[in-house]
Structures are given as structure tokens and as C-alpha cells.
Symmetry: C3
Subunit: 408 residues, 3 copies
């Protein structure tokens, strides 16, 4: 019985990856064939790592072919472990060490203007993703991974969570739908993922199932794993049923921090086409915004798919912002800056807000109950909105925290 | 005590109908007065039929006046039975034989682009309705029938279900609201009606009441009546309360196949006017589309009432289709073709879908998990939408079933 | 221990008000200092009233300074009682007599096109408010009153309800949110308030809490207080959660007669800006209209805040009416006439409705079931809408009640 498994990618256009072919044999020890342009410099250490991993899984006899296209160590380890576990069914796990700089947590109300989608089986896009400074980075195990690659992607995503520095971006993973999605959690929960994206969410029960599995996994961890901080959930509404149940979903659990809408799937479910003006999804986007705000969480808009059209993206963000959205997905790093700049308070908004907030503080110091600009009384909701604008402007470094000291 | 009843229509503009005046007498036998332009050719058979019917209801003495304007046999029978049962209160029933070509059933997901409304008491419109090939023909017992004609319309609709060939159009009846509607079911359920339209639906309970009565009626039928196939229900949302409860209604029972909106009643309930652009009903139409899709059934739009404005109708269908509707009502046969052509996939839509579906099958054959056009990966929802388009194009004979054999 | 309290307003721009400074002393009797331009004419009666009130609250020694800017008696009484009860905590209450002309009740379905907001602590605006003939006058205890003035405003609003004639306008009070709002009820329920506005309503429970307190207060009243007529409730939807729960709120109790939307607070809750075209609130306004109509109550739109822009107001009313709203708030008397004229049926609407209603009555008299104009059958919802238009035109004196007698 020949037992062969492969893992990873090779061929034209593939970078930072490797392709592993593993054949378990009955004798002959480990026979490793390495193809790599960097074999002269790194060949010895790659070989050592392969041997270490095979040894960890108690494999004494095997033929291993490793076609390398510049993979870093955690990628090689992910590819090899995926092949080994496919063949052996071993339950052992060999993640790399979790970098100490990856141990950060995120707050419930942090900015989530941009979240960058990265296919979960494409290491080249992961390595430098953090330098573009998105608010969040999504390692996607769902639609961006081909069905027959979904198993091996789990090891790559796990290893990326452990060993790649995202420079402060919120560490997100989009899991699959249904049972596969619950099993995906085993590969990410122990490795300080900050937020789970739940695709095609249609009921509160799906949230409860995810939280139940998260708790089970955390309870199985050694006490050295930090269990104090929350793992956030962002359900994605992608169907008419999800829209109908939007508020039940948004308010299903305390660790839900945002709710997104996915318009490609939604319009397909409706049996219609997605247009630029978005009439066909106006109701759905309004429902998501209202359901999210009603539950006290952030409403997040769909991605804008034409990565070349920056002005179209800007118009899209303006419409999103006007409807009440707090952020949107992005599929290319170049979209991040436009999204941040357009969601951010504009200079005019900040100037107007400064006047109101200054008057508000003055009224407070004088013990007045009413905020006035000249003779005009400012309504409480207008004051509240101005305070939010100033808060955001400070968070985004568009205003000094102590601006009032020099204001007049 | 003089006992006289009338039934049917006469006068200018009336065709294919007759007007029956029936007086029960104590003696003198049957005195039949027949006024008909076709008396020379059909007089004898008409007279025979009248005698047969009176005999069936054990009427020995009566004066009958039959003013005929070209009624076919089942119309005469319906008019006479209506008059007899009005006078006698007889519980006996004398439907014509159910044509074998009328015994067809329909599937839950069949096309319902067009459904043609026919007033339930106007035989002239029924006889040739099928030749216009609407997807469905509605015999309307509700708003299109005057209150004092609602009883006699039941007999005409029953007889039409039995004896008029609709050439494959789905056989639909719109019943009345409330208790009268439940009683309407007695006249249609045993005669292979395919689908019941439920007007002004505002709660799931109304659906349950209809289904309960349907079951009672079917259980009373002799075993020769086919009880295996489903009788479908299409609730019509025509009020603000119906809009609020749209999802509860759409998901109330498994035999609901579609949900329609009726905008004349809805805008009247809202206290506003129906406009061409439809801003006042945008929310309601969106709710109906989303509720229907969430329940896995077809959303169906309101009728377009200007039967002379074909371009206006076409624009209306384009708006309906863009919002996600799968069909609409029509009040004149001339609307049918425009509705079909505009709801159908356009040649451009079909060409685009062919490319994607071809790539999808190629990927499947090659065991690939990802569908690609050139270097561009095609998302699963886009593939799903393309498959639907192709499925529909084949169903509508706009594409050969074996198109892939010659595609390149 | 010096015990000093103040109440009321003074200074530039203050009219029809007074500012009371009250110091309780241990001896020296009542020392009253009165500053008033009308002291020569009214000084004696003002002094008498102050003494009567102090006597009512058993105050024998006090220094009272009364800076009058033209306050009528019930204002002076309100200001002094507020200061006394602040200092003494007395539970005694001294409202003026309830004018017999203020004892009217209102019907559930009366016109509510306009409701004029008046700040609850500004007497000058209250005195002549009725002469502008708004459908309702709101004495506002919530956002239009500064937090440190909310206690004293209760006495002014109570005294206004008792002693100011609103000339038939519906007598409304907007209470505060939460517990303070329930306590506000103590100051208004016994004084024939017609309608309570409930701000930032987000659940049916808030309605139940208000109704429970209303019942408690009424049960405590002497039997001479009329308890037969209903006190109506108008919840205001001002948040995303309120929008989500709109139908539950609208249908929470039988004494809810209308539901309003407040767009300043709503758009602030959504985190967006209110625009003239109102895209950001289209969903919310649609939800409020549908929820209200579904519950059989009146949907009421937000105020239009630019009091100088009459044409903008008119356009705004046209949009409100088109969406199905039955009225809106106003913040300046000059807005009332535009609102009434624009919500009212137009001459063209009335002419069209007359034709239909005339045909309807003719058909009824002739025992016909169908209404027809010439050869065109008129659908029941169109007849219903025409009847509403005529009903409204008569109510608004745009049509004589007996118009049919001379119609041809």
C-alpha cells in the first residue's frame, strides 16, 4: 500500500511557499529530496527542521520531496505537518512558538475601519501584511481557500498566528460555515486570535455553537495560556435569512463586537445583481446598521471589489459612512489608506466638533445645564455626536489629546 | 310565497355567459323559456341539460328563463346550479367532469414570472386564457367579483377548473378574506386547483386555517381523488401588518411557494398614494423580497395597472427584477410577453453565465476546488448565480440543454 | 445653616417670568422684596399671593426676593412653590384651579398634523401658544429644559396645564426618560393632560411602566377627578433599538395613539449626520410608518429644524406625507400653517375623491356591489382612500359636510 500525501503550492507565481510530497515507507529511513534556490545558504537548516518534524511525529521511514520557493520556516513546518497528519491521522500538534509581540489583546470598541482579507493558504501575502497598517488582518479559511486545500490551510494559519508579526493589527480569522468552522477553531483559539469572523451567519444559535466550542478549547489548554481576555466575534450577514435575523444575531452574545454584511453572497441569495448604487441591498445594509447599533456594536460594510478604482472606493466609503457604517473589508492593501482617510472625521467635521465640545466643557465648568454656541442652544444628541468626532480624531492622530489647552 | 332567484350576467358587452331566472312553483312542471341566438343549433341540447340539472336537484315544478349570450355548457350549468342552490339551500353538488388534461400538478420551484388575473364571474375571459401562455391563471373570487355575485362565482370557478383547459398554466384561485375564503375552498379544492392565493394575509394563523380546511376537504373526498400532490399557497401582503409579519407568514408552512405584494391595498393602508418610482413601497417590497428569500420561496411583485403602457411595464419589471422579485401579476394578456421577456435572462447575462458555468464544470472535471476565468478566481456566490441563470435560460428555451457540448 | 433656594429666570430677554430667591430664617417673619415694573398696579396682589403661598406651606420666617419680568399669577406661584419645596422637601402641592375650559378630552383618531414644542421652563412661549391653532401643544420637560432646571419646570408645566387656555389644542407633555419621567407624571396626570410623549422609547416595557404609574396616580385622586377618559401616549423612536422594536412598542397598549420619530437623536445613535434628503433615516422612517399603521395608530415625523426655510419645510412635509406620515412636530408657530396646508388634501385630491365617493354612494343606494366611474370599475382600496380624503377634507373645513346634496 502506497501512502502519499502532498501539501502546499508550487509553480509559476508561487512565492514564499513550498510543496511537500510525503511518502511513508516501510524501510530505508528518511530520504529527503530538497529543491531550493537557497539550498546553499539554508539547505542544512531546512533539512534539520524536516528531520526534527518527522521525528516529532515518530516517522522513521519516508520519502520526502520538498520543492521550495522561498518559504520561511513556519511555512515549511505547516506544509510538512499537514502532509504528515493527512497520512497518519496523528492527533499530535506542532505549532511554532507564539511570539511575545503577538500576545496583544484588543478592546471591544477599537477602530475597525479596515480589515484586510488574506487567503488562508497563501503565505506570501501574510508575511508583510502588517506593514500596511490595516486595523485588522483576516486569515481566511473560507471562500478564499479551495475546498481541497482547506485542511492544509489550517496549519498555515495556525503557524502564521504564532510566528508572523501583524504590527498591532487585530488578529482575525474567518472560519468556515457549519461543522468545519467549529473544527477550524481548534487550530486558532489557542494561539491568541483576537477575533473570529463567522460567515453566512443566519441565527443566534450559530453564535452560541461557536462560543461553546471556544470555551471547550480554552478549558483544555494548560493554565499558562491566558484565558482572561475575550475572543471577539464578528458575524457576517450574507443571506436574506441573516438580514431577517440581524438583531437576534447582533445581540446573541457579549463578545460580539461588530456585524458585517457580505454583498456578493447576499445579492446572489436574493437572485439579483450587485450594482454600484446598491438599491438592491439598501434594505439589507440599513437592517445591519440598525441591528448592530441597537445591540451596541459596530456595523461593517462589504468589500469594494474593484481594486483599481480608488475614486469609486472613496465614493463607496462616503455612502457607507453616511448610512452609519463604521468600517469595511478590503481585499488589497492599497485600499486601506483611502478607507481610513474617508471614514476619519474630515477637517471641517473636526472644527465644528471642537466648537461644540469646547462649549460643552465650558458649560460643565460653569455648572450650566445647557450647552450654547452664542445664543443657540445645542441639543444633547448634537453634543454627543461632536464628542464622538473629537474622540475619534484623537484616536486617529488628527487632533492632539490636549487640544483644548490651546483652543480659543 | 314566490321564490325567485337569478344568476349570471346579461346585457350589452356580455359574451359567453347566460342569465338564469328561476322560479320554484307548486305545479305545472318545468316551464323553460330559452332566449339564444344559437337556439336553432344548440337549443335542444341546452334544454336537455336544463332538465337534467333540475332533475338532479329533484325539482319537478319551476319556471326557468335562460337568456343566453353564447354560454358553453359548463357556464349554463354553473348559472343554473347557483340559482337552484340559492333557492333550495341544497347541499348537493353537480360539477362537470374533471378533464383528464386538467389533472396536471406543478412543482414548488416552477417559473412564476406571470400570473394572469381573471374575474371569477366573467366566463368570456376564462375560455381562451390559456392560449396566452401565462405561467399561472388566477380565477379571482375576491376583489374582481362584486359582493352580491360572490356566491354564484364559486360555481363558475369550480366548473371552469373542471372543464376549461389552461394549457399547462398553473391553476390558481384567489379566495376571499376570512370565513368566506375558507368556505370558497369547498368549491375548488376537490377540482385539482394547483395554488391558492390568500389575499390581505397578516399572520401565520391565516395560513394554518387555510391548510386545516384544505385537509378537512381532502379527507372528505373519495379515495379516487388524488391527495398525494401538494396544493400550494401564495399569500398576498397588502397591509402594513402583513409587511411587519412577512417572514412569519412566508415561513408558516411547507406548501407556501411564493409570497406576493399588493400595492393598491398596501398604499391605501399606509394612507398614501402609489407612485411610479415607488418610494412609498420600497421598504415593503424589500421586506417581502427578503422574507420570501429567507423562507426559500419566490417573491412576487404587484400588478402594473396601466395596460396600455408597455414601456412603463418593462421599466417596472426591470426594477422588480433588480430588487430580487421572481415575477408579477398581470391584468391583461398583452402584459404577459413583456413580463416573460424582461424577467428572463438577457443574452448578455446568458453569455456571461456560460463562461462561468463552463469554467465551473471544467474545474470539477479536473478535480480543482477553485473556479477561475483566466487568472481571476470566481467566488462561489458568483458561480451559484451563473448556474441559476443557465438553469433559467434552459427552462425558458433561450439556451439548449446540451449547450456545453458545442461551447468553446 | 443658611438655606437658600432660587427658581425661575431673569436677565436680558426674559419675559413673563420671575426669579425667586428664598431664604428660610429662624425669626423676623416674612421679609418680601419685590422688583417689578408693574408693582404700582399689581404689587399688592403679588404680595398677597406670596404671603398666601408661604402660609400654605407653614413658613413663618423667610426672606423672599421676587424679581419680576411680567409673570402672571400662576407663574409666580410655580416659581415660589418650586423654591419652597426644594428647601423644605414638603410633599404638599398647591396647583391653581383647573380652568373649566381646560377640561376637554381628545379622541384617539383626531388630527395630529402639527404639535408645537414649548420648553417647559419658559412661560412667555406658553401664554399665547393656543392662538396659533396647532393640533397639539407640547410642554416639554425633557431636552428643552436644562438639567438643573428640570425640577422647577414641573411646577410651571403643572400650573400651565391648570391655568392656561390652549384653545382646543391637544394638551401634551413630553416627560423625561427613565425614573425621572415616571416622577414627572405626578405633576401632570391629575391636571387633565391629554397625551404623554415618551422620549427615546425602546421597548414595550417602558410603555407599561408609564401606564402603571398613570393608573396609580389616578387611583390616588379624589373621585371628583374625571378618570373616565383615556390619557393617550405617543412614544418617540429616537434610537436604532427603538426602530428595531417599533412594532412591539406601537402595539404595546390601547392608549397609544401615535408614534413619532426623532431624527436628531436617531442619526446621532447611528453615528451619522442628518441630511435633507434623509437617505440615512429612510429605513427608520419606513419602519415607524409601517409599525404604526400595523398597530392602527398615527405615524408622526420628526421636526424640521430650519424655522426660516418655509419652502424647505413644505418639501419636507410632502416627503413625509408621501411616505405615509400623518403629522410632524414643529418648533416655531410659523411652521404650523405650512404643515396643515401641506398635509391637508389638495383641491385636486378632493375633486378626484368626490367623484369616487359619489359613485360609491350611488352604487350603494342602487344595491350594486361594484363601484364604477363610467365603464371603469373602482377597486375597494381606491374607494377606501377616497373616503378617507373626503373625511379629512370635511374635518379640515375644506369641504362642506353636505357636499353630496349639491354635487352632480
Amino acid at each position: 500500500m502506497v501512502k502519499i500525501a502532498t501539501s502546499g503550492n508550487k509553480g509559476k507565481g508561487v512565492r514564499s511557499d513550498c510543496f511537500v510530497t510525503l511518502e511513508l515507507t516501510d524501510q530505508g529511513g528518511i530520504q529527503l529530496e530538497l529543491e531550493s534556490k537557497v539550498a546553499v545558504m539554508y539547505g542544512a537548516s531546512i533539512r534539520q527542521e524536516v528531520h526534527d518534524i518527522l521525528d516529532f511525529f515518530d516517522i522513521k521511514n519516508a520519502k520526502v520531496k520538498l520543492e521550495d520557493s522561498g518559504a520561511i520556516s513556519l511555512v515549511i513546518a505547516a506544509r510538512l505537518e499537514a502532509a504528515i497528519r493527512k497520512l497518519t491521522g496523528s492527533a499530535k500538534s506542532r505549532p511554532p512558538a507564539l511570539l511575545t509581540q503577538n500576545l496583544y489583546t484588543t478592546t471591544k470598541d477599537r477602530n475597525r475601519f479596515s480589515r484586510l482579507y488574506l487567503p488562508g493558504n497563501t503565505p506570501s501575502l501574510m508575511i508583510n501584511a502588517g506593514i500596511h497598517k490595516p486595523d485588522g488582518i483576516i486569515l481566511d479559511l473560507e471562500d478564499a481557500v479551495a475546498p481541497d486545500k482547506k485542511d492544509e490551510a489550517r496549519f498555515l494559519v495556525r503557524n502564521a498566528l504564532c510566528g508572523i508579526d501583524f504590527y498591532g493589527a487585530e488578529r482575525m480569522v474567518r472560519i468556515n460555515q457549519g461543522e468545519r468552522g467549529l473544527d477550524d477553531l481548534e487550530y486558532i483559539i489557542p494561539y491568541n486570535v483576537n477575533l473570529i469572523l463567522l460567515p453566512k451567519c443566519e441565527s443566534a444559535d450559530q453564535i452560541h455553537a461557536v462560543n461553546k466550542r471556544i470555551d471547550e478549547i480554552l478549558n483544555r489548554q494548560p493554565s499558562t495560556v491566558n484565558r482572561q481576555s475575550s475572543i471577539w466575534i464578528m458575524p457576517i450577514i450574507e443571506s436574506a435569512l441573516g438580514v431577517i435575523n440581524a438583531y437576534a444575531i447582533a445581540s446573541a452574545a457579549d463578545n460580539i463586537v461588530a456585524m458585517a454584511i457580505g454583498l456578493e453572497d447576499y445579492t446572489a441569495d436574493l437572485g439579483t445583481r450587485r450594482t454600484a448604487e446598491g438599491t438592491e441591498s439598501f434594505f439589507a445594509r440599513s437592517m445591519v446598521v440598525n441591528a448592530a447599533r441597537a445591540a451596541g456594536i459596530q456595523p461593517i460594510d462589504s468589500v469594494f471589489s474593484d481594486v483599481a478604482d480608488m475614486e469609486g472606493l472613496r465614493q463607496n466609503v462616503l455612502r457607507s459612512k453616511a448610512l452609519g457604517f463604521d468600517g469595511m473589508g478590503c481585499i488589497h492593501p492599497r485600499q486601506i489608506m483611502v478607507i481610513h482617510d474617508t471614514f476619519a472625521p474630515s477637517p471641517e467635521e473636526i472644527e465644528k466638533a471642537k466648537k461644540i465640545v469646547f462649549a460643552f466643557h465650558k458649560a460643565k465648568e460653569q455648572g450650566l445645564g445647557v450647552v450654547a454656541l452664542g445664543t443657540k442652544m445645542i441639543d444633547p444628541p448634537v453634543v454627543k455626536r461632536a464628542l464622538n468626532t473629537i474622540h475619534l480624531a484623537i484616536k486617529m492622530n488628527k487632533l492632539a489629546e490636549n487640544w483644548r489647552e490651546t483652543y480659543e
